[in-house]
């Protein structure tokens, strides 16, 4: 049974997830390069560690959620990393969004100590992390997944075992492919309504009752109407995620023209001042720019 957890990465996602684990009764030893984030967790009852290695020491499992493939690799199998600290037979769960190759590569090293690895990326953003309602998509050995189930239930609601190591990342990649293109679709529709003199709010409302319904039309559609481009989901993150998709497409010879289009639009958004930190629903701003349109509501 998992009782002691090393937790690495206390960013926008990691901090609320770690707090939910503390609330759920787990013993946490946390590590982050940002000291204030560590202090906040210590004030709520966590122990602090000076390295990933120390966070992993005496833990039953280690969880990390970090911004890039390189950082995860360093934390997992670099100097003073999880590999050095975690006991043989322990479980290492990375919940970052990565190329599916990265967990497979890391796992090869971890196998030397019979450490099981799971890749378990999440969807639902900082709001889902705070509510403990994240969707979690898991790849790796089924036994390790079963052991981690009670832990996952403290941070997420929709928890799915997808398949072998890397399969969680594939599912997350599919998620990001769909979300990007649905944002594009909703942007085009609301822009067309506005530009032809029809109230986009009424159109959104009507469409929520039919085949055009989606969570994106609900959530991001409303953001577009409100001109609220505070993230939420950052352009920089979604840009990275569609780049992962395009690199898988190149490797496997896949024709993904819609993903290619959205990937280009993230490039364009990033080229705007401050654009990397806009919410991903800001695709509509690019379409407006190229359509010489007034903003659909207000003039942001």
């Amino acid at each position: 049974m998992i009782r002691k957890i090393g937790f690495i990465g206390l960013g926008i996602m990691g901090k609320p997830m770690a707090l939910n684990l503390l609330k759920g009764g787990y013993e946490l030893k946390v590590y982050d390069v940002v000291e204030n984030a560590v202090k906040e967790l210590v004030n709520k009852g966590a122990l602090s560690a000076v390295s990933p290695e120390e966070a992993a020491k005496s833990a039953d499992a280690v969880i990390s959620i970090l911004p890039s493939d390189n950082i995860v690799e360093t934390v997992a199998v670099g100097k003073n990393g999880v590999f050095d600290g975690l006991k043989a037979g322990g479980i290492y769960v990375d919940m970052s969004t990565l190329s599916p190759e990265t967990p497979r590569k890391i796992s090869k090293k971890l196998m030397e100590k019979e450490i099981s690895m799971l890749d378990a990326p999440v969807s639902g953003g900082d709001v889902g992390a705070a509510e403990g309602s994240l969707a979690i998509m898991v790849g790796g050995k089924r036994e390790a997944y079963d052991l981690m189930q009670p832990v996952f239930q403290k941070i997420g609601r929709n928890i799915n075992y997808i398949g072998e190591l890397g399969a969680g990342q594939i599912a997350k990649c599919c998620n990001q492919i769909i979300v990007a293109q649905t944002i594009e679709a909703v942007s085009e529709a609301l822009l067309l309504a506005q530009k032809t003199g029809v109230d986009p709010a009424k159109v959104r409302n009507a469409l929520l009752g039919g085949f055009a319904q989606s969570r994106v039309l609900e959530v991001h559609g409303q953001r577009m109407l409100d001109r609220n481009f505070e993230p939420g989901g950052r352009v920089s993150i979604h840009k990275k995620d569609t780049e992962i998709a395009m690199s898988i497409a190149a490797e496997f010879g896949l024709y993904l023209p819609g993903t290619a289009l959205t990937s280009q639009l993230w490039n364009a958004a990033s080229s705007q001042e401050g654009g990397s930190d806009w919410d991903h629903s800001s695709i509509i701003k690019l379409l407006e720019m190229l359509s010489n349109s007034k903003a659909i509501h207000g003039d942001n």
Copy 2:
């Protein structure tokens, strides 16, 4: 109050809609070029007419649902058309999917007799028509809409007044823009899963719980997994609808790259043998073709 209705167009959509109106207690006089369709309605208690003009005579309102702008125009204001038969002050409701210009053009003529026109395209397909659960998007004068409300409630569930004449068509156009791109998005995601060795059914299931959720992922995603490309929504219809969107985009100077892409994909689907009559979820077949992929399930 509306009691007597002329009903023109007894195709896949019109026939079940007319049947629901009969069940709902309205007096119907029906017209279609296909005699068997007319007979079926007469057997259920409708009267038959030899022309749109006759269907309109003594009616409080006329409803049409027909395959193209030209046919609607002919039926409405051509020889022996609705204009010739309908009493002054009557209501003409066209429920076809058209360019927003067509109802405006027809209405100019109808105004000579103070006939009010509504454009009221529907979403939900033949299944929604049979169940009486269509989404109806209505443009035109508010008073005419209010008079028709009880009639709409016999054929649809999600009934929305959008704005002036043509606004219903704009909303429908927005609907088709979103549905097309969401089908594309889901196709790309399920193809990527399959090709990388991950079960697309598990991925679909996991994604239904997060931001990638949509009616299309539910309904069309399942069709893709089942390799069920019987329509449903025909490629030929969706091709026409995205062509309307592209022509609005050209007129208003709108940049709609995702719609352009799906419009091209409908062209490609139509170029396949029998492709015009495939269900629109068959976009995945085109992607598979260009990715030299096995079908995601089975080998259809």
